[in-house]
């Protein structure tokens, strides 16, 4: 299989950092936003922002996927 582009991988990495690895930065109650504790607000916001990142990744990957490509199997 053709490997995904670096751009798509970087775009996919953004939600991982925001949602997962940075947990100790946002896991708190204050400031409350829209009536929600900050950690709840942050994760709900990323339900909406993750598709934005992945839409960018889609724009990068979809044209590549439709090109004809050679032999299957990676090159690692």
């Amino acid at each position: 299989m053709r490997k995904p582009s670096v751009g798509a991988i970087l775009l996919a990495f953004i939600p991982f950092v925001a949602i997962c690895f940075s947990v100790s930065l946002w896991d708190r109650i204050d400031p409350m936003v829209l009536g929600l504790p900050f950690n709840f607000f942050w994760l709900i916001a990323w339900l909406l922002l993750t598709p934005v990142c992945m839409w960018g990744a889609y724009r990068l990957e979809a044209p590549r996927a439709s090109e004809p490509h050679g032999e299957d199997g990676g090159t690692l």
Binding site: L48, P51, M54, A57, E71, D72, G74
Partner: protein, 487 residues
């Protein structure tokens, strides 16, 4: 009419409408193995979206999300963490798996391992591990269903008849309509679930507190520790959160039934676009949390937190509405259960029996054996749910830790030429053994980390080491093994 009759009528109507849709979806189509297992690879974006959402939102989500929010508090946020990220991971796996699947006519996850690594024993082992982790998952769907119907009918139907009736229906529409039946039932199920989650999740905070913001203000005053990790627990802190979210995000689509569902899509682009929009569906999850959090203040002290949502609905709304929730909850168990039964039966017939025991079987005979296996698995799950053993449930709660061990084999199988059959075989065995040992000895979480995550790290190390020590194989998918999958 008394309340239990009204509620029961609603539950029955919903379940039977669902059953009718399931049967109808499969009539007028010739049910060969290809149609039965992967719907002739013809599902468009909407149906794939509904099927995947239908499979992902099980009774564990329906009862467990509010249950965890109630009994554990903020650690339940891991659900909002892994859900968008597992779709991110699927973006890089499922379209590629689909391409391979179309080229080699794959129908199961074990087929993928068979063709990629050209080894029927590895494929049979993957099938066996998959089935072992599916059975307790199935059992949990049954037990959840029994619990929902019993509470929602005000005890009018005992859990055991509820489980038996609904699983006969599930087995019947799986037999007649295969994956297509399951996909169409999930249309009804998703509509009901969306409606009830949005309505209840918004209404309960308004009725009791005057709004979601006011409910959180009250919680922040009365139970501030409940709103940040580790909540009401001592060991579910930040390192647990990170390791669990990573594990489930990479492991989720390693469930054989979710992996297999991707083959039913019409094109790889369907799956790619689906991965982009799926996180929107998770908007229903926080609403489930709100119900559980409201319950901590309204009905404190429930011994079984999983009943917090049903208890709140029963306390707040009229009987017909409880019946509606009960019907939605029953379908929420039946849809994923249908796919699990179908997947386990196909894995057993196609990837264990045919290659190892009776190599001469035709596709028609495999289909016949799979359908007999559907009945056996349904009966086995019913028996284990009725005489439930706590060990099985303990296995399930961490079941994704087991299937996540397929991840290196799938990803390296797609993208690496250097990975070898011996490496993947050794890695999967190591991962499963480490994981089961940690889980059964009650070391989950271990050292603050999810046990499945630790096992996955061992797995990756073994795959890398053994692959580098064994000679490189011919890369990628070769034509040779194609004949053994497509008869």
């Amino acid at each position: 009419m008394n309340a239990s009759v009204i509620a029961l009528a609603f539950i029955s109507v919903i379940v039977f409408v669902g059953a009718f849709i399931g049967f109808y979806a499969g009539t007028r189509r010739k049910m060969d193995l290809e149609q039965w297992t992967v719907g002739d690879r013809g599902f468009g974006m909407l149906l794939v979206w509904l099927l995947m959402a239908g499979e992902v939102y099980t009774t564990f989500t329906f009862l467990g999300a509010s249950g965890w929010a109630y009994s554990k508090g903020a650690p339940v946020l891991y659900v909002l963490g892994y859900q968008p990220l597992m779709y991110v991971v699927s973006f890089f796996i499922l379209p590629q798996v689909w391409e391979v699947g179309r080229k080699y006519r794959l129908q199961t996850q074990a087929d993928f391992f068979h063709v990629r690594y050209n080894n029927k024993y590895l494929a049979a082992f993957v099938a066996l591990v998959g089935i072992i982790f599916i059975i307790p998952y199935l059992q949990l769907q049954l037990m959840g269903l029994g619990m929902i119907v019993e509470v929602a009918s005000y005890g009018a139907i005992h859990r055991i008849p509820a489980m038996i009736i609904s699983f006969i229906i599930v087995a019947a529409f799986v037999l007649t309509s295969g994956i297509r039946g399951v996909a169409w039932v999930s249309v009804l199920k998703d509509l009901l679930l969306l409606f009830s989650a949005v309505f209840v999740g918004v209404a309960i905070p308004y009725i009791y507190f005057g709004g979601i913001g006011r409910m959180f203000a009250e919680l922040a005053r009365a139970r501030p520790a409940h709103l940040v990790m580790p909540g009401a627990t001592t060991n579910l802190g930040h390192s647990w959160y990170i390791s669990t979210v990573v594990l489930v995000a990479v492991g989720f689509y390693m469930w054989p039934q979710f992996f297999g569902a991707s083959f039913s899509a019409k094109s790889s682009d369907t799956l790619r676009r689906n991965a982009v929009v799926m996180p929107f569906y998770s908007i229903t999850m926080p609403l489930m949390f709100f119900i559980g959090l409201a319950a901590t203040l309204i009905v404190p002290g429930l011994t079984n937190g999983d009943l917090s949502m049903l208890t709140m609905v029963r306390k707040t709304f009229p009987a017909w509405f409880l019946g509606l929730i009960g019907g939605a909850g029953a379908l929420t168990a039946m849809v994923p259960a249908g796919v699990m039964i179908l997947t386990a039966a196909t894995l057993f017939a196609k990837n264990m029996c045919r290659p190892i025991l009776w190599p001469g079987m035709t596709d028609q005979q495999v289909a016949k054996l799979a359908k007999i296996t559907v009945l056996l698995i349904t009966i086995a799950a019913l028996c284990s749910a009725i005489y439930s053993s706590p060990t099985l449930v303990a296995l399930l709660l961490v079941g994704y830790g087991g299937v996540a061990q397929f991840f290196p084999g799938v990803v390296l199988g797609l993208y690496s030429k250097r990975v070898t059959t011996a490496g993947v075989f050794a890695g999967v065995v190591t991962g499963v053994v480490v994981f089961v040992a940690l889980a059964l000895s009650k070391h989950d979480p271990a050292m603050g980390l999810n046990a499945g995550f630790i096992a996955l790290c061992c797995n990756v190390a073994v795959v890398a080491a053994v692959s580098l020590l064994t000679p490189a194989q011919r890369g990628g998918f070769d034509e040779q093994s194609r004949a053994s999958i497509a008869a």
